[in-house]
């Protein structure tokens, strides 16, 4: 048999349940623009019915749970794409600065000073006895040496800045893993008590996503709501409530920061994220460009020196090196320097006879170097053209990858939105439904109240 007080309980339970549902809706609407927020759903269920005799009576409604709607597979995909984007963006950022050093379309590269050096040999060949012409050979050589120095120095500065950025990235990673470890505990705690861990998971996913832009992270479900984060090579970053900080130590040879987890050097194991992009720039791209630059500087200065030494200067003395001789290829561009200041010492002549000032044999030979394969089997300008291509192509292919990756990321985020995004219309509709239900239950309460009063009055015989 039913009772008035049972009905009252049902109505009050309903008020509470609808109130909870309204609260959930209100929270959804409040967070409509919150990044990383997953919409929540109020899970209303019937309470267990009671059996009275042969009757089964419902006991009302309860707010069983508030569920955050998210797709953890999509979360993983977003993280993966974010890692790649992080790497490419860091690489492109640095690459764009590097390519501006070689921007031949606006004439800021090495082509002009290279051509000018050979043009000065050309002029020398026409007018070998003229001191002004000889001086212009020295000036052109100085300009080229300076341009090589400057380009090499700019690369070094860029490399040092990138090294600084590596250190900052590691600091960011450590700060993020510390936060993730804390949230990880909160998720596990909430999951343990059966409460809705959604908001914490939102927060954790948001942090893991940020971490993904810095480094390659692989996420493993550790059970109990907790996740274990490692780099893709298996270096632990977060295990349960414990985070493992990475550290940096200067490399003994290069002086640049190596990345350590504990006492293990993991520099070469970082494959994705901003950190990987920075490492690629610092340890591969810039050294490779500098190596090309050094190859050019070393071989060109050697060839010019050899030819200059094969000739004779204005006084009929065998020529000395035009550029200060370089002992090794490494660092050649930075060390390029002109050794001659006296225009008389330019060896235009092919013979030792004194007074042979009109002899341009050696000037012609110097000029001929322009079209000789003296730098790694290529002409100087041909080799430099290859360098320009390499620099441009590295940036351009990273850009292509980045663009297609960002489209994929956008698409996955769209899918995520389909699952987790808050839709105002949906919330408004729900709000109206909950409002109606709440008002109805309130009405029921009021009616039961009247009924109860009537019953009490009946009993008291008023």
């Amino acid at each position: 048999m039913g009772s008035l007080s049972a009905s009252l309980n049902i109505a009050v339970g309903s008020l509470l349940a609808e109130q909870g549902a309204i609260e959930t809706t209100s929270n959804n609407i409040a967070n409509v623009t919150t990044p990383g927020y997953s919409r929540q759903r109020a899970d209303l269920t019937e309470t267990s019915p009671i059996e009275v005799g042969n009757l089964t009576l419902g006991t009302g409604v309860q707010l069983q749970d508030v569920t955050s709607l998210r797709d953890s597979i999509l979360d993983l995909r977003v993280n993966q794409e974010t890692q790649q984007q992080g790497k490419l963006n860091a690489f492109i950022g640095g690459g764009q600065q590097i390519q501006s050093l070689f921007n031949e379309t606006s004439g800021t590269g090495l082509q002009a000073p290279l051509t000018a050096l050979f043009n000065s040999f050309q002029q020398l060949s026409v007018n070998p006895s003229d001191l002004t012409t000889r001086q212009s050979v020295i000036t052109s050589a100085q300009n080229l040496a300076q341009a090589l120095n400057q380009t090499s120095n700019n690369l070094t500065t860029q490399q040092q800045n990138t090294d600084l950025a590596v250190k900052q990235s590691v600091e960011q990673i450590n700060s993020l893993t510390t936060q993730i470890a804390q949230v990880n505990l909160q998720v596990a705690g909430a999951a343990g008590t059966g409460a809705n861990a959604g908001p914490f998971i939102d927060q954790r996913q948001q942090l893991i996503n940020q971490l993904s832009s810095y480094v390659d992270v692989s996420t493993v479900d550790a059970g109990g709501g907790s996740v274990t984060l490692t780099t893709s090579a298996g270096t632990p970053l977060v295990v349960g409530g414990q985070s493992f900080a990475l550290s940096t130590q200067p490399n003994a040879t290069t002086g640049f920061q190596d990345i350590y987890s504990g006492s293990t050097n993991i520099t070469s194991q970082i494959t994705e994220g901003q950190l990987a992009g920075q490492l690629q720039l610092r340890d591969q791209e810039i050294p490779s460009i500098r190596n090309s630059l050094d190859t050019l500087a070393y071989n060109l200065s050697n060839a010019v020196n050899t030819q200059q030494q094969a000739g004779y200067d204005l006084s009929g003395t065998a020529g000395g090196p035009l550029f200060t001789p370089l002992t090794q290829q490494a660092g050649a561009a930075a060390a390029s320097k002109v050794a001659i200041t006296d225009p008389n010492k330019i060896a235009a002549s092919g013979g030792p006879a004194p007074g042979n000032s009109g002899d341009n044999t050696n000037a012609n030979a110097l000029l001929a170097l322009q079209n000789q394969q003296i730098v790694s089997g290529q002409t100087p300008i041909g080799y430099y053209g290859g360098l320009v291509f390499q620099v441009g192509n590295d940036v351009s292919s990273a850009q292509t990858q980045q663009q297609s990756g960002s489209l994929v990321l956008q698409q996955i985020q769209n899918l995520q939105g389909e699952v987790s995004g808050v839709d105002i219309n949906e919330e408004a509709a729900n709000l109206v439904r909950y409002q109606n239900a709440y008002q109805a239950s309130a009405q029921v309460t009021s009616i039961i109240n009247t009924l109860m009063l009537a019953t009490i009055n009946m009993a008291s015989g008023v």
Binding site: E104, S129, N360, N364, I381, V388, G392, L415, D423
Partner: protein, 297 residues
């Protein structure tokens, strides 16, 4: 049930706005610079070809500059030789005049005096220089190549017989000079020797016809040698037109490598502008769309 759509349209709208803005910026950049390649990464292959192109154009420019130097130099040499030819022609007629048996010694002395003058003139012509470098000294261009002994009228050559070559354009060389001894003291007709002999023949009154023949030989010889400069000047003007054409080709190549097709870019720009405005318009409308809340009273 319909698939739930992503309720947040903003990210994709913003992406479209950015995309259309990007094409607008690219088009503006191309219009402003007139180039379709403004950074190496825009087209690495074109940028690398541009290096070769600019190098070649730079070398061509220098070659052209050299050609005008060489041209002036050869013009000076050629006109100097022209003056030598006139002097020899005058010497020839003086010699013929002196060979006339009716002249007395005093007359011949007077003629010899003039020949002496011609010899002096020829020596100074042979010592001609262009911008400080002696033209007829072989490669010893810094020292005066010919000296005249005023007592014996003997002319000594202090230069050498070396010849040089210069490049007129890439890989195209010409012989750059004629040594003075080949021009003025050639075995098949020495200019200075002929004038010296004519002078002494006139002063002594002997061997005049033989020395006139010598002068004639010298004249023929100079005329022959002079062709060298004429040829070089021709070569230079050929090279000049070759180089100018090459420069033109290179600048056309540069244009096709990195130049922007302005008509196409202008169209792209207009399209990008329209697209951008359309996206902005759509975004404004979408953002302003009423929600269910607006209808709940």
């Amino acid at each position: 049930m319909a698939i739930r759509l992503n309720p947040d349209l903003l990210p994709s709208l913003l992406a479209s706005i950015q995309e259309s803005k990007q094409s607008e910026t690219v088009a503006t950049q191309e219009l402003a610079s007139g180039r379709s390649v403004n950074q190496l990464s825009d087209n690495p292959i074109a940028a690398a070809s541009l290096v070769q192109n600019h190098d070649q154009a730079g070398a061509d420019g220098q070659f052209l500059q050299n050609l005008s130097t060489l041209q002036s130099k050869y013009q000076v040499a050629d006109s100097t030789l022209g003056d030598v030819v006139s002097a020899l022609t005058r010497a020839l007629s003086l010699g013929t005049e002196g060979a006339n048996g009716t002249l007395n010694s005093a007359d011949r002395q007077a003629i010899a005096g003039e020949v002496q003058g011609l010899l002096n003139q020829t020596v100074s012509l042979a010592n001609a220089n262009y911008q400080g470098a002696f033209l007829f000294a072989g490669t010893k261009v810094s020292a005066q190549p010919f000296t005249l002994d005023p007592n014996t009228n003997t002319v000594t050559y202090n230069g050498n017989s070396a010849t040089t070559s210069v490049e007129l354009s890439n890989g195209d060389s010409i012989s750059a000079n004629l040594p003075g001894n080949q021009l003025f003291q050639n075995a098949s007709g020495s200019v200075t020797g002929a004038l010296q002999d004519l002078y002494s023949a006139l002063t002594t009154g002997t061997n005049i016809p033989a020395s006139v023949t010598e002068v004639q030989n010298a004249l023929n010889q100079v005329n022959q040698q002079r062709v060298f400069y004429g040829n070089n000047l021709n070569q230079i003007s050929l090279s000049e037109s070759f180089l100018s054409q090459d420069q033109l080709n290179l600048s056309q190549q540069e244009n096709s490598l990195v130049g922007a097709d302005l008509a196409a870019v202008a169209t792209n720009f207009a399209q990008a502008q329209v697209a951008n405005q359309a996206t902005l318009n759509a975004t404004a409308r979408v953002l302003g769309l009423p929600t269910l809340l607006d209808f709940l009273k």
